[in-house]
Amino acid sequence: MKTTHLTGQTLIALALALALVIFPLIVSSPVTRNLMILVFLYAGLAQAWNIVGGFAGQVSLGNAIFFAVGGYTSTLLLQHVAVSPWLGALAGAALAMILALIVGWPVFRLGGHYFAIATIAIGEIALALMANWEAVGGARGLTISFVRDGNGRPADTWLWFQFNQNKLPYYFIALALMITLAGLTAWLDRNKPGFYFRAIKNDQDAARSLGVNVLRYKLLAFVLSAAFTALLGTFYAQYLLFIDPESMLALRLSVLIALVAILGGVGTVWGPILGSFVLIPLGELSRAHLGGSGRAVDLIIYGALIVLISVFQPAGLMGLGRRLRGR
């Protein structure tokens, strides 16, 4: 019985992945493509947050730090020592993992709300430092210059991770990152580290008394989350060819990442993806149709939605789906 259920899910996943691969070949509008890329990006970020926030139950409101580490590391390596962003992405991920260990080791001793507030504080310190650090662009940020072809036109190049003519590769790279993260989460869902994360989330003292090394597994969740968030940071930098502290480090971003996961359903494999597919288009549409971002209509809707979800459906859309199916 159980195996058929699993294959059912795998089949749905495969069909969905296939549909997403074919999708841009049918719908070629740049607006839609851009929207889909953002959906994949936020699904990935939420999925990475989900490992530490959803599975292990440690509510990080500072995940944007790792996003910035990824984006800044690859961009600075590119600009100063001409390292390809592909290698820069790995360097960024490694740096993010080290940072997660350094930050996590002391901060994980704080439980619950204290942990959330400490991560906010760390994020704000990072934002202030980056905005004042002129050597890395300060508040103005960094612009990545175009790689040009023989005719001086901005070129497409896999080597330098830039696709200025045909933007389709960005779509597939973002999709691949999202699928990889979903795969990792699906694995965690059914294997020992994931069980340990959940045990810590449910009752950390009970988990400890059963022999789970609580700190080590919290750190493992945090390091995994940091590494993938950093990879997505590099992707974002190469996609926009511009980064600045405000767009990469603001508390708003950390909150939005968590929000996507919460809306979809925390601690589940599908939740972050579902959340991103609902929330990101909703935000874009409301910005486009209900007045510009200056009027903040999208944020009013976000805010109301978060309150409603938290109050009435803490398990997110996944929980809602389960409840409807249960009837």
């Binding site: 926030g53 139950g57 509510v59 002391p106 901060v107 001793r109 704080l110 619950g112 709300h113 204290y114 959330a116 507030i117 400490a118 906010i120 504080a121 760390i122 704000e124 310190i125 202030a128 430092l129 905005a131 004042n132 508390l251 909150v255 968590a258 929000l259 919460i262 925390v266 200056g294 009027r295 903040a296 209509v297 944020l299 009013i300 976000y302 805010g303 109301a304 939605l305 978060i306 309150v307 409603l308 979800i309 938290s310 109050v311 009435f312 803490p314």
Partner: protein, 301 residues
């Protein structure tokens, strides 16, 4: 040479005075947060938006009816008390037994909602109350020591904060209702056995905590820019003050408020760093303290 030293001392005194004045306001903003946490173990992440609402309330009272912020202060305090009550009844009461994640994000969402709504209704513009009464009193500033000047509105805000804080402290420690409040914070079941209705105490906590923010906002409105995002920085500082002082500790909020105010104003003067980095220093001090004492300076944990 002596003149130079004199100026350095003046600069330092000036900074200490400013730090204490703003620290008292921080303490009043934070004590509401702390009170609510002590009662229900819930952090109100919309606290900064409550402050913003209070400031806008003062602004509109002034613009529409010509009421000085000082005059409308009691109205603003009552208004915010109502906001707190409604929040508790509509949102908090539903999530009191929910997982922590839902608790955090319910109030976070409320904050985002209120902030965006303010931006929608009143635009993101920065506003200032024109010529409030306090800015004209004594020419707007007083000399506390030779050569050290402080603004009258700032002094008034600090005094108001100190008075409100003292009143709250006396209420909690001396009145029968205040003791009931403390009893619920200490142990809900036992308090219930003594006939204390904890739901009513929760209501009271939200009313008192939000009214404190209302008073702080009304006091700030005399001299501070008013805009939808204004609560953000104050809220971050309030979380730090509460965590630093110890969640649920009223005296802790006072001590930590003063510490944060002084660190914020003194760090650019003493360390010679850019003023835009002052909050980074504040947050670093907070992190260092809670890593050594996770329960904060005066918390019970």
């Amino acid at each position: 040479m002596r003149a130079k030293e004199g100026r350095a001392v003046e600069t330092l005194l000036q900074a200490v005075a400013s730090g204490v004045l703003i620290g008292l306001v921080y303490a009043l903003i934070s004590v509401g947060l702390s009170l609510i946490f002590g009662l229900m173990e819930i952090v109100n992440f919309a606290h900064g938006e409550f402050l913003m609402l209070a400031m806008f309330a003062s602004f509109w009272f002034h613009l529409l009816w010509g009421l000085d912020p000082l005059v409308s202060l009691p109205l603003v305090a009552i208004l915010l008390g109502l906001v707190g009550l409604v929040t508790n009844r509509l949102v908090i009461a539903q999530i009191i037994r929910a997982p922590m994640l839902a608790q955090i994000f319910a109030t976070f969402g409320l904050g985002l909602f209120l902030r965006s709504l303010a931006q929608f209704l009143w635009t993101p513009d920065f506003r200032l109350i024109q010529n409030p009464w306090l800015s004209r009193l004594f020419g707007g500033r007083v000399e506390i020591v030779r050569g050290v000047f402080v603004g009258v509105p700032q002094v008034a805000a600090a005094l108001l904060a100190a008075v409100a804080f003292a009143a709250l402290y006396l209420f909690i420690t001396r009145s029968k209702t205040g003791l009931a409040l403390q009893a619920v914070a200490e142990d809900k079941e036992t308090a219930a056995l003594m006939g204390i209705n904890s739901q009513r105490m929760f209501d009271l906590g939200w009313v008192l905590g939000s009214a404190c923010v209302g008073i702080a906002g009304a006091a700030l409105a005399s001299f501070y820019y008013i805009y939808p995002e204004v609560g953000g920085t104050f809220a971050l500082i309030a979380y730090v003050v509460v965590a630093l002082g110890g969640f649920g500790s009223v005296p802790g909020a006072l001590v930590a408020g003063l510490v944060v105010g002084l660190v914020e104003i003194l760090s650019p003067v003493m360390l010679g760093i850019a003023p835009s980095l002052k909050y980074a220093v504040v947050f670093t001090v907070y992190l260092l303290v809670v890593l050594i004492r996770p329960q904060g300076l005066m918390g019970r944990f």
